[in-house]
Symmetry: C2
């Protein structure tokens, strides 16, 4: 498996572009277009479980059902979420897809619209239409980069990644993707799993049913395990498609490939780590690893509870070794724990682990030298907490960041 | 019903004091003592449902069981939570109660210890012992005020309240209380209900079983409906006691008194509002009222989801009329809603309501004059959101505050 350039356009058969349509005042790109060359791709999507749904989700769910999971293009705007916009919003989302379908000469159900940004505001369709025209003019096989840029909102930089990998049967395929998300990041934990905005493609030939299996498994360990503030967005969308440009050696689609599953998960994990590191106002990247839980579900709940705790996040920002907050957050989840079996460590990316709690007894007593050692770890920019529950054999990892003054600043001034 | 002075010592038969034991460096009071004169009071307690429990909870649960709900004294320290301190911590909590029991010449099970402050640190028992001696010297029938001061941690001021009320049978009783809490405030929603630290007394004669009914009902609408950061503490404790100094006219204890229930709820709501207003870093008090929910439980879930949302809290701090975040938080709860029936208003304590969303259609479209009107409301220091779900007849109110830079500052520097 090797990293390659190109993001989503590293995938054979994918063209993309990103332009400034005018939704954003300051001239930053705000509209992305992704087009599959030739035959439509197979496609699966995971949307938010928030009962308040952005108009594009209401529209896209129906499209994918009608098309049987086929995809020719994705058109995506930032700056305006087209959410809480009633029936007018739904018509606008449909129209956005129709503009693209018309240009391509394909049925409208093959085009998925996506919107992200502020809620409670109608889309300016004139600007969208002009933006789509511009985006078609710029479409290219190496436009992934500018498409990734165009979907960002409070992100400080674009997020894209791609790998080339040799499957078990010798075929060489590519998996690439792009994502956006810095705030309003909180996972759903209910099928269909989905958080934030991500578009991932592969050129490996895979049918819809198999693609769904691969995607569900990968999303569950990645996009459902990242949290910046724990607020679940009404617009969260993850699209996974296969252009099928590289057939498997057998001629059948790729199925039961451990290598492909790993590659897909790795692309998603890469994007998730970028989202966590770029969390609104983040100064530190944080990983929470839960081990020896009774069930997978317990391990996930505990990891997410710690990664989402405002008190834990503030303590990390302040390099304050107040590790009791980590344990308290686990205790508050309601999962099965025995405090007498609980142990906790902290480490940075490079250094040794520092023990904080052992079988329920405090090791890094506040004010002690050991607590001082923990503080030294907190000065690093990548922090890992590892908690061993001692009630079973399951584990899970959650991804997130600290909470700084800038998180408050960014979210206090979002629409203005 | 009329407001009276004295806090917890407004209740006949209650002496209290607050002293500086030396746990805190800066000379602020850190140890409170409450003593019931004469016969022990009847007493019920609600503790956190966090599975990680402060040592005082492990000890007090057993005491109350053994004593059959009788109480002679409460001793309470701040600055150190005596939590995650293993068996040594449990022994220290027992010893703290024994010091007091010895001085009073009563059995140790009649004394409840309480601790709040930082976790993962052993209690300095020498200081506790000296502090208790000092507290006994200062005990008085108007010491409620200094006791309330001594239990505060990150609170900016003490919290106490008392009412005198005439019951249905003509007897005149008092209900008074004190509380602490500014951060790590998040309700449990599971019986036994409990969040934060509160001690509430009445001189009305009430047996334990009846007191439990009154207390549960009142706690459910108040302490279980307040959130500053939504982090559930391992030390949350609410104690409700009756000194029985004022018998009911019938000679029996007070039972089925609507007036008493209202008075108790009013005391608790008063304390809860003080906690919300004094939330760590709070610049604004916030109330979220949910109406026309299908069930009481749904209404509570929705109200708490909004009051806890970091995005909503930051928007309020920034006076940003980004009301979509309120609706999104409700949608993420999983309770039954129909977006087409949802309506939302905002108002200040004094002014008129401003409509934001009506039956799923945006009224205060971002950028419109109506949104500007909403922003004007947000400049006030008490903000009320009212959401009508349109799926039933139940309602609930949650209490909280905004999230400012100071919330982060306070929690980034707590142990240091």
């Amino acid at each position: 498996m090797r990293v390659i350039d190109g993001g989503i356009t590293a995938v054979r058969g994918v063209k993309a572009s990103g332009v400034h349509s005018g939704l954003r005042q300051e001239g930053r790109k705000d509209l992305a277009l992704i087009v599959i060359e030739g035959e439509p791709a197979t496609c699966v999507a995971a949307f938010t479980v928030n009962q308040v749904k952005g108009a594009h989700i209401i529209v896209s769910e129906k499209k994918l059902k009608r098309s049987g999971g086929r995809l020719q293009a994705i058109v995506c705007n930032s700056e305006n979420a087209n959410c809480l916009t009633g029936e007018r919003g739904v018509r606008d989302a449909e129209m956005m897809a129709e503009f693209v379908a018309e240009k391509l000469g394909v049925e409208a159900d093959l085009v998925i619209p996506m919107s992200t940004g502020v809620m409670g505001k109608f889309l300016e369709m004139e600007k969208i239409k002009k933006g789509i025209d511009k985006a078609f003019d710029r479409l290219s096989f190496n436009g992934g980069c500018e498409a990734a840029e165009a979907i960002t909102t409070t992100d400080t930089h674009k997020k894209e990644i791609a790998f080339e990998v040799e499957l078990e049967d010798g075929s060489i395929v590519r998996v690439g993707g792009m994502a956006k998300g810095a705030g309003m990041i909180g996972p759903s934990l209910v099928i269909p799993h989905a958080t934030m905005f991500a578009i991932i493609g592969t050129d490996a030939k895979i049918n819809v049913k198999t693609l769904k299996l691969y995607a569900s498994k990968a999303i569950d360990e990645t996009f459902n395990m990242v949290a910046v503030d724990g607020d679940m967005s009404p617009n969260d969308t993850v699209i996974v498609f296969s252009t099928g440009k590289v057939g498997s050696k057998s001629g059948e689609g790729v199925s039961e490939s451990q290598v492909f599953q790993e590659a897909l998960t790795k692309v998603m994990r890469g994007l998730v780590k970028m989202i966590a590191k770029d969390g609104e106002g983040a100064t530190k990247y944080v990983e929470v690893r839960i081990e020896e839980a009774e069930s997978k579900e317990d391990a996930k709940k505990a990891a997410l509870a710690v990664i989402k705790s405002p008190l834990v996040k503030c303590a990390i920002f302040g390099c304050d070794p107040n590790w009791g907050r980590v344990i308290s957050a686990i205790g508050a989840t309601g999962i099965k724990i025995s405090v007498k079996k609980l142990s906790l460590w902290i480490s940075s990316k490079t250094g040794e682990e520092v023990k904080l709690l052992e079988n329920g007894r405090p090791v890094a007593v506040i004010g002690s030298n050991q607590a001082e050692k923990a503080r030294q770890v907190l000065y690093e920019d990548e922090i890992i907490f590892r908690a061993v529950l001692g009630t079973g054999t399951e584990k899970a990892t959650a991804y997130g960041c600290d909470m700084s003054y800038d998180y408050v600043k960014i979210n206090a001034e979002y629409t203005t």
